[in-house]
């Protein structure tokens, strides 16, 4: 059971992610940002619920829609924002942009901009933990689209075969880019795929942050105790386009609005906290205001930051010294 404090902290993080992503989308459309930026509105409960399970030594492999994972793990919003601006103060000093964030200090490995590209890397990270017996668990985040990639199949098979300490978290947001789930796979529940690898698979409501936390916690504990991987499908809806400039015209009219009523994790959690008397209207407003200020400061920090020095363009292609 999670505590009241836990709930308030989790709610704060969800609001921070929402503010970060709404702001990114807005300033992208104002022409202040360029490149490929995928936002994760609608998926906040997955990032927050899952990441809050982790201990410091645990490792995360994120994907292109991963800003929420980083923010939840503690990467400062200003470093994420500065990276989106391509500034030297960003997470990757301007070499990534939106898709390949990294925060080594916090165990956040380089995210993959290739759909499914980091699943097997997470498997290998778990293999390292198994060999070294370091007790770390690795989380692998990917979307529903990635479950049709060969790497998903190869990686899950290997992880199950070797009982590796890894948890696979599929954020099924109903869309692979512009293709609806029903048009890219016949199965209804993605977790059904787990059985073909001899792995446990569960599908849960990914808008329920406590459910996500409890499910991931159980899977992480199982992985840590040497009982192997789990595939967790978190059912959500992408309350945004594929990328920050995408208005989602390929979606049936009214679809997003309909899902928004039932699948907005921030609203759902807030209503719950109100009804249980854990949070007041005024406190909620303060949390939103503080998050907004944090993100505004992040934007200002990013805009005022220096461009990366040109001589860094070819720096660290290799580690030069052994």
């Amino acid at each position: 059971m999670v505590t009241k404090e836990w709930k308030i902290e989790a709610f704060k993080d969800m609001v921070r992610i929402r503010e970060l992503q709404d702001t990114v989308q807005q300033i992208y459309r104002e022409g202040k940002l360029n490149g490929h930026i995928q936002t994760c509105q609608g998926q906040e409960a997955v990032a927050v619920g899952a990441i809050r399970v982790l201990s410091k030594k645990d490792i995360v492999f994120s994907n292109h829609r991963g800003h929420g994972h980083y923010l939840a793990r503690g990467t400062p919003a200003k470093k994420i924002m500065a990276e989106l601006y391509g500034k030297v103060t960003g997470t990757n000093r301007g070499k990534s942009g939106g898709m390949y964030l990294v925060d080594v200090e916090r165990g956040m490995m380089v995210a993959s901009g290739i759909v499914g590209g980091s699943i097997c890397l997470a498997v290998g990270s778990a293999l390292a933990s198994q060999i070294r017996k370091d007790g770390a668990v690795t989380l692998s985040f990917f979307g529903d689209g990635a479950t049709n990639i060969g790497l998903f199949h190869e990686g899950l098979n290997m992880a199950a075969l070797w009982n590796l300490p890894v948890v696979f978290i599929c954020e099924n947001n109903q869309y692979a880019e512009a293709t609806k789930k029903e048009e890219h796979q016949k199965i209804k529940k993605i977790s059904d795929r787990a059985i073909s690898y001899g792995m446990t698979g569960v599908s849960i409501d990914g808008t329920d942050v406590i459910k996500v936390y409890e499910t991931v916690k159980e899977a992480v504990e199982k992985a840590r105790s040497g009982e192997g991987p789990t595939l967790i499908e978190c059912v959500v809806y992408r309350l945004a386009g594929h990328s920050a400039g995408d208005l989602g015209a390929y979606r049936p009219k009214g679809e997003e609005e309909k899902w928004r009523e039932t699948h907005d994790p921030v609203k759902i959690f807030q209503t719950q906290l109100f009804s249980k008397g854990i949070l007041s209207q005024a406190e909620a407003e303060r949390i939103v205001r503080e998050a907004r200020e944090e993100i505004e400061e992040a934007v200002q920090f990013a805009e005022e930051s220096e461009e990366p020095p040109v001589e860094t363009a070819c720096q660290y292609v290799y580690q030069e010294e052994n």
Partner: protein
């Protein structure tokens, strides 16, 4: 000194590194029981945790070794035939080659991927006989190693395993059973140092991998007519420009022989590098030999037609000398 085969030399390198460094482990398909046998015997000494047979999943073999390397281990992945490496191309090109760069040097990627390339002892056909290292020369972030004899194979593999960067290590099937002298004491060979395999003064013959064997045979055969200097770059990335350019400045003639198909192959890259530095020293136009621009056919007769074997090298050198 001991006389070892190329396979034994590679195995000795793996064994030495695994004994001294607990972060080194090997994995690949049937590495303990089938295939070319480089890892044979390691299981008995190091156990199944460190010597892993895998499913036939090249992308996962490569991806998982990348992931383990990101955590500080020093994995050696074996890809039985280089042709299969293409199943893991995303993991090498999009992931491995970018990790150090994207992290601004905060991450190391001490990964070695070994793969057997080149034509077989006849009969591999087009999906088991390719020479693919040139593809990877065009990917910044990878180191490309291509040893031609047991001595180089051992010394370079040891360096590869301890390198902080992703290293692709291309072995040649025709070399596996070749024997050579290997020191009993420990040694390593640094990357970026070409080997002058035979000194000469009339023409520079740059050859890689199995082609070095052909080059040395030709040089010996025609030594009364022409003095051939045979240079093996040993590592294509990084490339030892100095040794190559200095030799060409001395001889004024250069032929580059590599088993990659000629179009877009590393032969052209080496020649361009030479031309930028030694154009005014050239006496005749530079020449390159590689496999013909065709899939490798099965028939022995056709296969020999496609690859740049001894007779073609000899003919080309004699033509260049007569000018």
């Amino acid at each position: 000194m001991s006389e070892l085969t190329y396979i034994e030399a590679l195995r000795a390198a793996l064994r030495e590194e695994m004994r001294k460094d607990r972060d080194v482990f090997v994995m690949g398909e049937d590495i303990t029981r089938y295939g070319f046998g480089v890892c044979r015997g390691l299981l008995e000494e190091f156990g199944p945790e460190m010597v892993r047979n895998t499913p036939i999943s090249e992308a996962a073999i490569i991806g998982a070794t990348i992931g383990a390397a990101l955590r500080g281990m020093k994995p050696v992945a074996e890809i039985m035939f280089v042709d299969f490496i293409l199943m893991g191309m995303d993991q090498i090109v999009n992931q491995a080659a970018k990790m150090i760069y994207l992290s601004n040097g905060e991450l190391d990627l001490p990964l070695t991927i070994r793969a057997a390339e080149g034509t077989e002892w006849h009969g591999g056909g087009c999906q088991h006989s390719q020479t693919l290292h040139s593809l990877f020369v065009n990917i910044p972030g990878l180191k490309i190693i291509i040893p031609s004899d047991p001595y180089d194979a051992k010394g370079l593999l040891k360096t590869a395993i301890q390198d902080r960067n992703p290293v692709l290590f291309f072995e040649h099937k025709q070399l596996y059973t070749q024997k050579g002298e290997v020191p009993d004491e420990e040694y390593t060979i640094p990357f970026g140092e070409a080997a002058i395999k035979r000194e000469g003064k009339d023409i520079t013959l740059i050859a890689t991998s199995w082609m070095v064997r052909h080059a040395l045979d030709v040089a010996e055969e025609i030594k009364d007519k022409v003095s051939v200097e045979v240079i093996d770059p040993r590592t294509l990335v990084p490339l030892d420009k100095n040794t190559i350019v200095n030799s060409v400045k001395k001889t004024g003639k250069v032929l580059v022989v590599d088993e990659s198909p000629v179009t877009g192959g590393v032969q052209g890259e080496i020649i361009s590098t030479i031309m930028e530095e030694a154009f005014w020293d050239m006496e005749v136009p530079p020449k390159r030999l590689g496999s013909q621009n065709t899939p490798v056919p099965f028939s022995t007769l056709l296969e020999e037609e496609v690859i740049p074997a001894k007779e073609k090298i000899k003919k080309q050198i004699l033509e260049m000398i007569q000018v």
